[in-house]
Subunit: 393 residues, 2 copies
């Protein structure tokens, strides 16, 4: 089937949640018209979360996350419940399925609260509505019967609408600019820069500036001073690669905003506040604390060098503490984060937004501070406060 | 085998040429250690050119083009010879295999002349040197025996050396610049531009300018005038997207160089002279002439719009002739080009250099003028002469 050609990561992820026997698997089969999950009346059939690529009309190819019951019991059961909660962090849309004959339980209420906290678009499905017909009109609730097919069509339409909710038009930097503003971009070129190209965040920033009817001026760090002198109109903003943050800071007059690509992209991905708080956690580090340094891809020599060599040494110098560092890269990301005093993540330019959101949400669930390379560098160099001035946080 | 994971297009293409029975297939087997091609003493076994992915040590994964004998006879035979000659256009390295017992024939000499004309790195292999042992030391010739394996190791070393010949360091625009020069890039953003990105040639140009210690100023066409006024130092060069060539021309003072991304990339790929001559062929177009408009990919809405809609209409207006247009896209490119009065190709940003070179070489073989979209647009708008001023052609 051609729909298999859409990679899982590019599909909208719909998480199905609910108590055991609420009918998660029957709903999945009813909406996709496929009989893939084992539907049974025995409680707890679905144990581990399974992500399945499916066609959900009228939406198209989606990924459906089938999760364990949120009322599971016993030691293993509690672990399963934990996994279900974790799957919220991967869900673009959450569907809470409730047995209409029982109504909303305390487990459902707890999950719903979490969904709302995480601001995940959601829908409550009152299933088995063939047995007890109470039709209520609530915007976030639909009454269906997986068994008879009642309202399944309407459920699919509602899901499609939720999933396709126009993303609020996000900009990288355009909201800080007026037409005709100049923006100076500082792009160092070292051996580790990719040959003959610009990295994605630089490209995206230049494009965003063009879209705002503004002008990008792209220089290496050794031309900041000369270029500033050459302009009759002051740039509104200087955006620098974090590697040369201190150089950019010293050459940029105090009346010109200065920030970094890392900060702009943390903001773009919705993680800036968390990442700034995360960076400040470095102040509380003590001897023998563990820090996780995590990289989203395995092939950026530049990030690797910063992550495994420069950051540990800067941090040791700054804190003067005996710190234990752990490193992960690529899709590798630990489940248990509480063991770390803080997490320092790369900018994640090669991870999709869902995965970055997942990692930030998991850290937040486990009260573990998380930040990114550039924001920590700014903090270590004492430039962070200046660099976040342009933003209202 | 992991070596299969290198796509054919990324492998160095080694073309094996020679008369029937000179031992092309035996040489191929001897150097790759595989027995893939039918080796036989019957003349003309290899009829159609076959491109095979192979491991050639010490070089690594290569593509070997096994071609029909260049002395084939009869109607079908002549067609095969023509196909062999065409395969020169796909070869990064050409190997001319000669039966040492016979020596160089007039067919070999003719092919060698063509190889030299096209400036393809080549090696002459005197095969069957076990029969008649004449060792000569010539830089471009090696004496081997596929049968006994004599000098096969040396042949492989020579091939690797030829194939790895350091490409002369090519720059897009850096050779026109002095450190600290300013370059103004005009990048229009219309509906057809890719969302949130810059197209590859724009990225590559900005990077090349950074590498030259110069400054890129990136603007939309509506900010050229204002930006020029804002600079104390004049830009050395304005580089524009061809779509807004006339706007850029009118706003750029005559003492500042003006050129386009199309022109820079034709130069970068070594096709500029041919493409300029190609554009001038529009002056000789007559009623009912056929023009081929060819696109390298199938997914750039921007190019499609220019190729299938705008160009035909501009050309009809300019020539006032009744022209027949044909269109191809993607890997599709006709074998017979003589039927066209001229070929107008896209910039080929998604085609690899070998494929673009192949198309330009084929057009040249068939005396068919070939140009690209941007260079033709410049000619039609009367800006071509100005736009090639920066280059010594």
């Amino acid at each position: 089937m051609s729909l298999n050609s859409v990679p899982l990561a590019n599909r909208i992820h719909i998480g199905l949640f609910g108590r055991r026997n609420a009918g998660k698997s029957s709903i999945m089969n009813a909406i996709t018209g496929q009989n893939l999950s084992i539907v049974s009346e025995i409680k707890g059939t679905t144990t581990d979360p399974v992500i399945k690529a499916m066609e959900l009309l009228p939406l198209g190819p989606v990924a459906i996350i089938d999760t364990p019951g949120i009322d599971d019991e016993g030691e293993l059961g509690e672990l399963r419940v934990k996994r279900s909660y974790q799957m919220l962090n991967k869900s673009d849309v959450a569907v809470l399925i409730i047995d209409a004959n029982i109504g909303m339980s305390k487990e459902d209420e707890k999950l719903l609260k979490k969904i709302k906290e995480k601001a995940i678009p959601y829908l409550i499905v009152m299933n088995k509505a063939d047995i007890k017909e109470i039709e209520k009109k609530e915007a976030d609730t639909i009454w269906v019967s997986a068994k008879t097919g009642k309202n399944i069509f309407e459920l699919k339409e509602k899901l499609a609408k939720l999933a396709l909710q126009e993303e609020t038009e996000k900009t990288i930097v355009a909201d800080l600019l007026e037409p005709s503003d100049l923006v100076l971009l500082v792009v160092p070129i070292d051996k580790a820069a990719p040959k003959g190209r610009l990295i994605l965040p630089q490209q995206q920033t230049i494009r965003d500036i063009l879209d705002a009817d503004c002008v990008s001026i792209v220089v290496k760090e050794n031309q900041i001073a000369e270029t500033l002198e050459n302009l009759k109109q002051k740039p509104k903003l200087v955006i620098t690669d974090s590697q040369v943050f201190d150089v950019a800071d010293s050459y940029t007059p105090k009346d010109i905003w200065l920030t970094s690509f890392s900060i702009l992209f943390a903001r773009y991905k919705g993680n800036l506040k968390q990442a700034i708080e995360g960076a400040r956690a470095i102040e509380t580090i003590r001897d023998s604390d563990k820090i996780l340094i995590s990289e989203g891809c395995t092939h950026h020599r530049q990030c690797e060098d910063i992550g495994t060599v420069k950051l540990p040494s800067w941090i040791r110098n700054y804190t003067n503490k005996n710190i234990e560092f752990e490193f992960t890269s690529g899709t590798e990301f630990p489940e248990e984060l509480e063991q770390y005093k803080m997490i320092i993540h790369c900018g994640g330019c090669m991870l999709n937004d869902r995965e970055m959101t997942y990692r930030y949400r998991c850290a937040s669930d486990q009260d573990t501070p998380i930040t990114n390379y550039g924001i920590l560098i700014a903090h270590l160099k004492g430039i962070l406060e200046r660099s976040i001035e342009p933003f209202s946080l």
